[in-house]
């Protein structure tokens, strides 16, 4: 067993209103540079719809991800290493800029500098690739909110198997939003596709990154990733991808997309998995077993054996504690709500989704029945095959039973909590009917509906202490040795645990710990203004020997 920690995310699609705030803030943070105009590390798609880039899920066309060879071994769907090298001079499966969109700006200057004329001056669109005026024909999210989907429904690869049954008439349709970032897979096919070995999975937190100095621009990762979440910076000639905002994660802060999510639908936390069993899990013959195999990879952080093994593997103690509090683990393993996006790609994606109940609720509501009633919702889940088949195509390789089970749990929670909120005696049969007890269901409700910042994001700060003190980095002052004259100015790294521990969660407290460097006689005492009232932090009372606390 080789335990590794993975920073993972869950998105609750029931709460996504498709506002694109995540996409915009991500773009402002990461891809507002030349060469990355069309690059959206985070994008939000309306489903049914084509997605971004158009039709990326059609792996018959793009050959992304993994497949099983004839003898049952896992291989890259696009072909082995020799084939990849042989086709290196022209990647046969690379999306063109037209599969994304040609980036453009407007000649705003024309509005100000146009001479006096009869007609109001305009700002015609101008291509950012050629600098010439252009006709805008397509862009990201042009099928947002089903706009254009009626005409282009056949272009959604996920509708292929159920297309003839789906009615896209306005009255009978369903839709939801799907925000997507890089999946930071356990078995990343982009890493495996990179001829230069420039893409790697970080040992500490599983974040998949591109080494910009090693990337040579062969573009194989872009075709290798079935989610098309590696982009080509056409200015620098290098691959770029979602970084899971690793500089923020290392400081215990959530990603920009999660931080700014208006619906607060994203959860970030650690999961532990057994790296030695990943290939085996990804090689399960039946696609429908992949979800279970992936779920089984995730280890129980409360299991003493797992805790021991994690410690042996060098995972710091506060990380093990964070894994135990991980909302992601709870949603995947305890409540069985979260599903991976396209497990059939065999990459073991680590951004999970709670499928939306809203298409079901909407239908029940429209028929005039009580859409908060468990019986009505259960019946609708059994009846509404099409949205459920569609969700199954996205999240369970087509297994509708799993999706229906998840939706039943959410429907049960909706009905059960309605009674509690209305002051009606809650019906305990409702949670029992989906295999939960009432307390568990209330906990689940709390996590889904009202979880605060600290509960949604349980992110232990990265440990850089060892690296910091290494000679090679040399960022440390030799006077800062134990008891040395520089010690007074050292900010207390150890006290910067993950958010949520008593007395340390307030960012102001952290700041003041650094600010008071000039008042070293106060060191060790507690500033009561920063105390949150919980627990008994050191320094609250003088110690027995008359010294202030350590």
């Amino acid at each position: 067993m080789r335990i590794m920690a993975q920073m993972a995310m869950v998105m609750n699609l029931d709460k996504c209103i498709g506002c694109h705030t995540c996409s915009v803030t991500c773009k402002q943070a990461w891809t507002n540079r030349k060469g990355t105009e069309y690059v959206w590390f985070n994008n939000v798609e309306t489903r049914p719809g084509q997605g971004y880039p158009r039709g990326y899920e059609d792996q018959d066309k793009w050959q992304g991800g993994w497949a099983l060879s004839r003898n049952g071994r896992l291989k890259l769907k696009a072909g082995g290493k020799l084939k990849k090298l042989a086709s290196i001079f022209s990647n046969p499966k690379l999306p063109g800029i037209e599969d994304y969109y040609e980036p453009w700006s407007y000649e705003y200057d024309n509005l100000l500098s146009a001479p006096e004329q009869k007609h109001i001056p305009t700002a015609p669109p101008k291509s950012l690739l050629t600098g010439e005026r252009m006709d805008i024909k397509w862009s990201g999210n042009w099928d947002d909110d089903l706009g254009g989907t009626y005409a282009k429904a056949d272009l959604d690869p996920m509708l292929k198997s159920i297309g003839d049954k789906v009615k896209l008439e306005f009255e009978e349709t369903f839709m939801f939003y799907l925000p997507r970032i890089c999946e930071h897979c356990l078995n990343p096919s982009c890493v495996a596709s990179c001829p230069s070995g420039a893409i790697y999975k970080r040992e500490e937190d599983g974040i998949v990154l591109v080494d910009q100095d090693s990337c040579r621009g062969w573009r194989m990762c872009i075709s290798g990733c079935p989610y098309k979440k590696i982009y080509f910076n056409h200015r620098t000639g290098k691959a770029e991808k979602c970084t899971f905002c690793y500089p923020r994660i290392e400081n215990g802060e959530p990603t920009v997309c999660a931080e700014t999510c208006v619906g607060r639908l994203r959860y970030i936390g650690l999961v532990f998995y057994d790296a030695d069993r990943v290939t085996e899990a990804a090689s399960v013959p039946d696609e429908k077993d992949l979800f279970a195999a992936q779920k089984n990879l995730i280890l129980d952080p409360h299991d003493p054996d797992v805790m021991n093994a994690a410690e042996q593997a060098g995972i710091p103690h506060d990380w093990i504690m964070a894994a135990q509090r991980s909302p992601v683990y709870k949603l995947i393993k305890d409540y069985d709500l979260a599903l991976p996006l396209h497990p059939e790609y065999r990459t073991m994606p680590m951004v999970w989704y709670i499928p939306p109940l809203s298409p079901v609720v909407d239908v029940v509501k429209d028929t005039g029945y009580d859409a908060e009633n468990a019986v009505n919702l259960f019946a609708a889940i059994d009846e509404l095959r099409i949205p459920i088949e569609y969700l199954a195509n996205l999240f369970t390789a087509g297994d509708t039973d799993i999706v229906a089970d998840v939706l039943r749990r959410m429907a049960a929670m909706r009905a059960f909590m309605r009674d509690i909120n209305m002051g009606i005696e809650p019906d305990e049969r409702i949670p029992h009917s989906v295999g939960m007890d009432p307390e568990e269901m209330e906990d689940m409700y709390r996590l889904l509906a009202i979880a605060k910042y600290d509960e949604r994001y349980v992110i232990p700060a990265g440990h850089s202490e060892q690296a910091h003190s290494l000679e090679g980095i040399g960022s440390d002052c030799p006077l800062n040795a134990e008891g040395g004259p520089g010690m007074n100015e050292m900010p207390d790294i150890a006290s910067r645990g993950f958010a949520g521990t008593s007395g340390m969660s307030d960012p102001l407290a952290e700041r003041s710990a650094e600010d008071e460097g000039g008042r070293s006689h106060l060191r060790g005492r507690l500033n009561l203004l920063n105390w949150d009232g919980k627990g008994r932090p050191t320094g609250l009372f003088p110690s027995a020997d008359g010294q202030t606390g350590a």
């Binding site: 001079f89 022209s90 495996a192 230069s196 790697y200 999975k201 970080r202 040579r216 790296a275 090679g472």
Partner: protein, 243 residues
């Protein structure tokens, strides 16, 4: 053997060694200072239809051309005749395989230059250095094809007793200038433009030749890397002292 003129020495001794120095030191400098810029700077995302034909045609062609040069320049005539390969057999191979490779290279290059010029997106991403590089490549390749056909095959010049000997002497630091000075003009242009492109090499996208990812064949699929240096295998020369 007449003693070479100043110009001949300059052309076939000084410039070649200077180009060699620039080539080697240039790559060292580029690798140390600009690893981020070490890329193919592919334009496939802009245009793919012509590239799909032109690029493999050119690259595979030029690889065969390179191998042909290794044989033609590297292996002395006495060696091939010692193993029983007659001049006739050698030339037959060189002309057929060589011209096939040359046709692929020239065809690919023409297609690629046409694509670069006519597609506005691709042309917009073309730097001045790119244009100079394309010009030099075209000169080298066309001069090479011209001299092979007209000087060597039809003209009766045996480069294996001229240019090739000079080339091997060059690496032994004893180049006989007269061998180059007496070569036909086509060969002179070919060799000189090749020397100049080698000097230009480290500063252009041609550096991607030295990024050929052959290590891909032997490495495991999934790569893990630690951000913590302590967890990485120790680098040579950085072993800690064991007190």
């Amino acid at each position: 053997m007449n003693s070479p003129t100043v110009l001949e020495t300059f052309l076939w001794v000084i410039i070649p060694y200077m180009a060699l120095a620039v080539f080697v030191l240039g790559h060292v400098w580029r690798f140390r200072r600009d690893r981020f810029g070490w890329t193919t700077r592919s334009s496939q995302i802009y245009e793919s239809k012509l590239l799909r034909i032109g690029s493999p045609l050119f690259h595979y062609g030029i690889i065969f051309v390179f191998l042909g040069h290794v044989i033609g320049l590297g292996i002395p005539k006495t060696w091939t005749s010692a193993v029983g390969i007659t001049d006739h057999m050698y030339h037959f191979m060189a002309i057929t395989v060589g011209l096939g490779a040359a046709a692929a290279t020239v065809g690919g290059l023409v297609l690629l230059i046409y694509r670069r010029r006519t597609n506005n997106r691709v042309f917009g991403a073309t730097t001045r250095l790119d244009k100079l590089m394309y010009l030099m490549l075209a000169v080298v390749i066309f001069a090479g094809v011209y001299s092979t056909i007209f000087d060597s095959a039809l003209g009766g010049y045996d480069y294996r007793e001229g240019v090739s000997v000079w080339f091997r002497q060059f690496w032994m630091f004893q180049p006989d200038v007269s061998l180059m000075a007496q070569a036909p003009l086509g060969f002179k242009v070919h060799v000189m433009s090749a020397i100049l492109i080698f000097a230009l090499w480290p500063f252009t996208r041609l550096v991607h030749v030295f990024a050929a990812p052959l290590g891909y064949l032997t490495r495991p699929y999934i790569i893990y890397r630690s951000k913590d240096w302590q967890r990485q295998p120790q680098r040579r020369g950085w072993e800690t002292i064991d007190y």
